[in-house]
């Protein structure tokens, strides 16, 4: 099947893009197209107007700020994966970006698209929650910033309004926390069945942020006992607090496994 006909706009800058969104709030934004176009090919989505933002090169950047890193919404997953700045400050973000789909998908899919699509099995929404990122949003009314934890509202649902566009994110650099990441997928390139980011604050406190285990990122602050069995018991307790969309028992088991892996990964970075 092929997509139905639509009106097509390709603005060259952000000001024009938000203008189009204001005059046609029903317009659907097209970024990398790696989630939207499959749905259009199968006619699960039939947008009347498409606003192609791939010409907004001003939204394609990774830069150091006083607080941390700012990353533009049009940054391709592969560039996030390869970015020296990202490797230096947030190795888990670079690692997670490398697990998104396949090389050809990563060459086109964008950060803003992944965050807005908010697939519960996606790496980047959970990464944003785990890393305490702020999501930067623009509309014809101006700009606003939302903490990632308040941006993701559940299955494919975010806080984004119809005339708004994600322009980028900012992640604060922390000297006191270490992060670890792990996910499990059946084959490389598949969506993860479950994944986790662990934040270690000192040796025994921090948080786990899971993905793939319910409708959206699940962050839980916790203690990490040094003893492996006790730690596992803590993870098992935490996994009882969320509702897997399918195969709940299996998902909870996997969630414990990836949390332990992510913990080991973070602990390995402590020294």
């Amino acid at each position: 099947m092929k997509p139905v006909a639509f009106d097509y706009y390709r603005p060259e800058n952000l000001a024009d893009a938000v203008q189009v969104l204001q005059s046609s709030p029903q317009a659907k934004i097209l970024a990398g197209g790696q989630s939207l176009i499959p749905m259009m090919n199968f006619r699960l989505m039939r947008p009347e107007t498409l606003l192609d933002i791939t010409g907004l090169t001003e939204l394609d950047y990774v830069e150091r700020t006083d607080r941390g890193l700012r990353i533009g919404a049009l940054t391709r997953h592969q560039n996030l994966h390869m970015s020296k700045l990202v490797h230096e400050h947030f190795p888990v973000l670079a690692e997670a970006a490398g697990e998104i789909g396949h090389w050809a998908i990563r060459n086109r899919g964008t950060l803003g698209g992944s965050l807005t699509h908010a697939d519960p099995a996606s790496e980047l929404p959970a990464a944003m929650v785990a890393l305490h990122a702020d999501i930067e949003i623009a509309s014809s009314d101006g700009t606003r910033t939302v903490p990632a934890e308040e941006f993701f509202l559940g299955f494919l649902t975010t806080d984004l309004g119809p005339n708004e566009l994600v322009t980028g994110i900012e992640v604060p650099v922390s000297d006191t926390s270490q992060f670890g990441f792990s996910e499990f997928a059946r084959r490389p390139g598949d969506f993860a069945l479950a994944g986790a980011f662990v934040e270690l604050h000192g040796t025994d406190r921090g948080a786990v942020t899971w993905f793939g285990v319910s409708g959206g990122p699940e962050r839980r602050e916790t203690r990490f006992p040094q003893n492996r069995q006790e730690r596992e018991a803590v993870f098992i307790d935490l996994t009882q607090t969320f509702d897997p969309l399918d195969e709940p028992e299996y998902k909870r088991r996997l969630a414990v496994t990836v949390a332990e892996d992510a913990y080991q990964n973070a602990a390995g970075r402590l020294d």
Partner: protein, 171 residues
């Protein structure tokens, strides 16, 4: 008997040749390559990004032509399998594919060759694992992959020779 609407004129560099095409915004790059430009070496399997058969190089990087509207490719450089064979004969990759029986039905082959080409340009010294990861987005229902991996590893030799003379940018 297609009803055409909103034709938009776009310019693309396809296999180093400037082409001008009138497209409907809803036309996929894969369909424009095949139906408008007659470049049927780009195969179409799933139209959902999963099989990899439609992969072409956009500005040197493998991308799914079924997940891109041709209008969005305006101004890009596209490389398809039709450009893979040098005038002298088979490219090192093609020759290695032939030698190692790295194809049977050939449906996946154009995209395999292009993806491998992009990999070897970027990294002429890949490990077997790196080859497997790079090609993991290209499904082959015939060969069982091993012969494809063997072919790419052998062809890498030729790319190393070129890159040792033209020094590449490190990753």
């Amino acid at each position: 008997m297609t009803t055409q609407q909103n034709l938009t004129r776009i310019q693309l560099s396809i296999n180093d040749e400037q082409r001008t095409v009138d497209v409907e915004p809803r036309w996929l790059l894969s369909d424009v390559l095949r139906h408008e430009l007659g470049l049927t070496g780009t195969h179409v399997g799933c139209e959902q990004g999963v099989c990899g058969a439609c992969t072409v190089l956009v500005n040197g990087q493998p991308q799914r032509s079924c997940l891109m509207f041709a209008v969005s490719a305006q101004g890009s450089e596209i490389r398809t399998i039709e450009a893979a064979t040098p005038v002298e004969g088979l490219s090192p990759l093609q020759a290695a594919f032939e030698k190692h029986h790295a194809l049977q039905c050939g449906f996946c082959t154009p995209a395999m060759v292009l993806t491998a080409e992009a990999l070897l340009k970027m990294n002429p010294n890949p490990t077997e694992q790196e080859v497997r990861v790079a090609l993991s987005g290209n499904i082959c229902r015939c060969t069982g992959y091993q012969f494809i991996v063997d072919a790419v590893l052998e062809a890498a030799e030729a790319y190393r020779r070129v890159s040792s003379t033209t020094q590449r940018e490190g990753q």
